[in-house]
Structures are given as C-alpha cells and as structure tokens.
C-alpha cells in the first residue's frame, strides 16, 4: 500500500507584509482543499512577524526542505505544495547508476586463478594428480 513520504508542512508567514500575500490567499482559499485531499499530511499554519514567508516540508526519512514563497501567487503555491507532497525525502542528486546489487556475483568473481589448472589436476611428465 502507498505510504506518503511527506510528514508535515509548516506554513510560516506574516499577516502584514506584502510578499506574503500569495501565502495568505492560499491559506484562505486552497489550504483546506489540500488538507482534505491529502489526509496523511499534517499542515501547520503559523503566522509570525518575521522575515520572508517560508514553507517547511519534513519527510519520513528526516530531510527538511525549506522553500521561499515570497511574491508567489496562490496557484503557484498550490502547485509547489502538490509537488512536495509527491516527492520522497531522498536528496535530489544525479543518480549514477539506475541499478544496484549487494551480491553482484553468484558463481564467484573472476580472479587470475579461476581458469588456470591447479596443482591437483596438472598432468605433466613428472607431476601426478593427487
């Protein structure tokens, strides 16, 4: 069954500054819909009289991702929030290989003596197999 990796979303904004206008509109209009559609994500809305408005997303593996939402419209914040809800908490780096195994070799990895006859099987003029 699908387990959503996003644990909680903290929406920190100020009720007066101009760049938090999109955040305030989001809280008034779309936050309830988002919370209803994603029941396993906890949404904390805390107004604070601090610096720029911030959206903090915490994931089940502990990664915390902070996004600035200053001067963004309500629709843009909705898109951002749905994108964060679909992500897992893994770091966004280039994956070097799309595959990984802990046991790459079943028959035993090649070493220089794999295909050489051993002293037990050598048939020479004097050496006898033991």
């Amino acid at each position: 069954r699908y387990v959503r990796q996003l644990q909680r979303l903290q929406l920190l904004f100020s009720p007066t500054t101009a760049d938090a206008r999109g955040a305030r509109q989001f809280v008034e209009e779309a936050a309830l819909d988002f919370a209803r559609r994603h029941p396993d994500v906890v949404l904390y809305v805390s107004p604070r009289s601090g610096p720029a408005p911030l959206l903090v997303a915490e994931y089940l593996n502990g990664t915390v991702r902070e996004e600035l939402i200053a001067n963004k419209t309500s629709e843009e914040i909705v898109q951002l929030v749905t994108k964060l809800a679909g992500q897992s908490g893994l770091d966004i780096v280039r994956i070097r290989k799309p595959f990984h195994t802990d046991n790459p070799s079943v028959q035993g990895q090649w070493h220089p003596l794999t295909n050489k006859p051993s002293a037990l099987t050598v048939q020479g003029p004097r050496l006898q197999p033991q």
Binding site: P104, S105, V106, Q107, G108, Q109, W110, T114, N115
Partner: protein, 149 residues
C-alpha cells in the same frame, strides 16, 4: 522595479554580487591553481568544463564499448578463442547478448562465460564441417535456426 527618471537609477546598488559569484565558483572548487578561487579565471574554466562534459557524453559510449570489447577479448583468449570468432559464432547461434552483458558475465559469472565460449567453439567447428565436409554428414545441432514468428 521601474524607475521613472534617469538620475534616480544611479542610487540602486548591486547587493547580490557575492551569491552571483558563488554560483560560478561552486563548480570550480575542485580545480587546480587560481581558477578555483579567482572569479575571472574561474568563469572561463567553468564554461570550458561544461562544454567538454557535454561533448564527452558522445565519446563515453564509444569508450565504454571499446572497454567491453577489450575485456571480452581477454576472457575469450583464456578459453582459447579470439574475439571475432567468439562474437560471430555467438551471433550465428542466435545468442543476442550485447557486449556490456557479456563483459559483466565474464567478470562476475566465469562459468557461464566458459559455457558461452564452449558454445561458440562448437558452432565454429560445425561451420567448418558444413563448409569443408560437403558430404553426407548430418547438419550441426547448434547450427539450427529457431524462428520466433
């Protein structure tokens, strides 16, 4: 921000310069010499590094294929077969494995590779018999072609 009259724009100052410079320098941190510290030298070096990495993506495919071929050649020589004989006989026996997979088998599954080499050798002998024998000998077993349609 739209400034309406000319003398006013002289009062706006660039405050971001540090971060704009760091955006470039962060890609130059592992370089050698002054180009990992000085912005003017780093800009040129970083641009050349990006261009080279873009062009090298085409070369990487060629390079890796040559690496696989070298490894398959070394492994098949251990079993007494040369690379062209190995690959051509494997294709004639309808074993369509690419060089990457055969190279990985040669490293991690040596017994499987030995059996592939034995298959190629057997198909080679059957090919020789079919070409030189010209008699009433039966056709080779491994020379039969299976149609999958």
């Amino acid at each position: 921000m739209v400034l309406l009259s000319a003398p006013r724009w002289l009062r706006s100052r660039l405050t971001d310069r540090f971060w704009r410079v760091q955006e470039v320098l962060k890609y130059a941190r592992h370089f050698r010499g002054r180009k990992n510290r000085c912005y003017k030298l780093a800009v040129r070096s970083v641009r050349r590094a990006f261009v080279k990495s873009t062009k090298a993506r085409r070369e990487k495919k060629r390079f890796l294929r040559a690496l696989w071929i070298t490894r398959i050649e070394a492994a098949s020589l251990e079993h007494g077969l040369k690379y062209p004989a190995f690959i051509s006989n494997l294709l004639k026996s309808q074993v369509e494995l690419n060089r990457k997979v055969i190279a990985d088998l040669a490293i991690y599954e040596p017994k499987t590779f030995k059996s592939l080499a034995a298959l190629a050798q057997r198909r080679r002998q059957e090919g020789f018999l079919a070409a030189l024998g010209d008699g009433k000998e039966p056709e080779g077993i491994f020379s039969r072609i299976v149609h999958h349609y």
